[in-house]
Symmetry: C2
Subunit: 280 residues, 2 copies
């Protein structure tokens, strides 16, 4: 395969690009306008507007790419202010109508476009196995029975939230749903946990509660995989949480060695559940 990354923000695009370059297969990079950053200078790349779909497709063909991966978070655009090219104009109505049904429908419609143009679409987790984790407690902080019960409840709640296409994450503490993630993102959700009354949450001295992230049940795992990075651990620590949990091979653990040492130092457990949500 000849691989192109269509890159949004965050550390994951850079990590994957460098990993493949080190292995002698430097990918071609499409940088989405607004997400330019320094690391792409080391790669053959092109900057494209988010609605310049014709330019993206013709660039990929000119570079001989047959496989694409959408990597890194991209904020939902203001569709009314986009500057589509000719191809973009023809496709935008369908994309906008999908976007109205939620993030998941929006991403699926974009994957479908690239597939119908003959490209193979693969997920970040297929490009860097080390980003996902098998089932297990990933670090050296043990999990108590009551935390296990909170993990199960958070798994159930996040599943229900995902089915409604609301979001991927939930925080549960002592059986109580403290927060549910919608458009604000995980870091912002964790920030508000820290502002809840101490009576219903943990503290840095006495940790309680679980953050769990899982893909939406109907979600295509090739896009928008739940991501857990150093800032997730730092914010969860500040929020007094005890556990960060996800599902085996269904989350991107960015810089996992750093995550483990941060979590060990703060007294947080990192847990990767079995695919069916069972305790590892």
């Amino acid at each position: 395969m000849s691989l192109a990354l269509i890159a949004g923000q965050g550390d994951v695009p850079r990590m994957i690009a460098e990993h493949h370059k080190d292995a002698g297969n430097a990918p071609f990079i499409i940088v989405l306008k607004g997400f330019e950053s320094d690391w792409v200078r080391g790669f053959d790349h092109e900057v494209c507007g988010i609605a310049e779909i014709g330019k993206v497709l013709s660039t990929l063909r000119a570079k001989g790419c047959d496989t694409v991966s959408f990597i890194g978070n991209v904020k939902r655009p203001d569709f009314s202010s986009l500057k589509p090219d000719l191809k973009g104009v023809s496709l935008l109505p369908k994309i906008i109508s999908a976007a109205r049904r939620g993030d998941d429908a929006l991403l699926n419609s974009i994957v479908a476009i690239f597939e119908s143009e003959g490209f193979k679409v693969i997920g970040a987790h297929e490009l860097l196995d080390g980003l996902t984790q098998p089932a297990g407690v990933l670090n050296s902080v043990a999990v108590s029975d009551s935390e296990k019960a909170d993990i199960q409840e958070a798994y159930r709640i996040a599943g229900a939230i995902g089915e409604l296409d609301i979001g991927q994450g939930a925080v549960v503490c002592g059986g109580l749903v403290l927060a549910v993630e919608a458009q604000e993102g995980t870091d912002e959700m964790l920030r508000r946990i820290a502002r809840l009354p101490v009576e219903i949450r943990g503290t840095e001295d006495e940790r309680k509660g679980v953050l769990l992230k899982r893909p939406k049940p109907m979600q295509d795992k090739r896009v928008d995989m739940p991501t857990i990075g150093p800032s997730t651990v730092l914010k969860a620590a500040e929020a007094g949480l005890k556990v960060i949990a996800a599902v085996e091979h269904a989350a991107l653990w960015v810089e996992v060695e750093k995550l483990k040492s941060l979590a060990d130092a703060d007294g947080l457990s990192l847990v990767s559940l079995r695919g069916n949500g069972d305790w590892p």
Copy 2:
């Protein structure tokens, strides 16, 4: 009936107490410790700790009260720091176990205790009809078709969230779920809408999106009715929302004349849906 109010925070306890006093039926007030405020001095009252259940019951009996109403928000207490009296000690295990299943189970267990002791428990909406509203657009700002679609979606999402005992409120804008309320409360949820990217929300210049609150489907309407007050309108206005919606006779609209003039001035619509969620 001889009525006692068991009063938490907010304006509703005072409004109801004064309304009944003006009608010549001043209620007896149990003020929960931590929620003392000046207005109760005008009433026969007693301050009781939240776990002094024996004291509450014997005070009510000594005052000849046969009917109680729980009015005003009460934060979930830290059960481990409560100072229960003898009766409280015997009932606390059951209450704590209910509390672990969520707010709704907690409140239902408290209602059941008072009923089993022979008291009639009635809701705030039964004490002051003017607090709830029949179906209709309450003020003079019209609602567009796309806002009506957002209202329907918010009704559906808030219903699903309520079934999971997560919370009562949701914000939807252009079909997208911007936020879902859990333990943080409505004001805090509205505050984070204002911090979302402007591409996906309204602004004070171009309002978009709907806040909808409804009781949880299995909720006892005698406690914890969705409440909409002046701060809800102010925060919704700051968040760029266009509509605040609730369900007929299933929300407390506090100081509704003030709400209407605030909403008119800011260009927000106040909507009371039919009981089945249909447009009025």
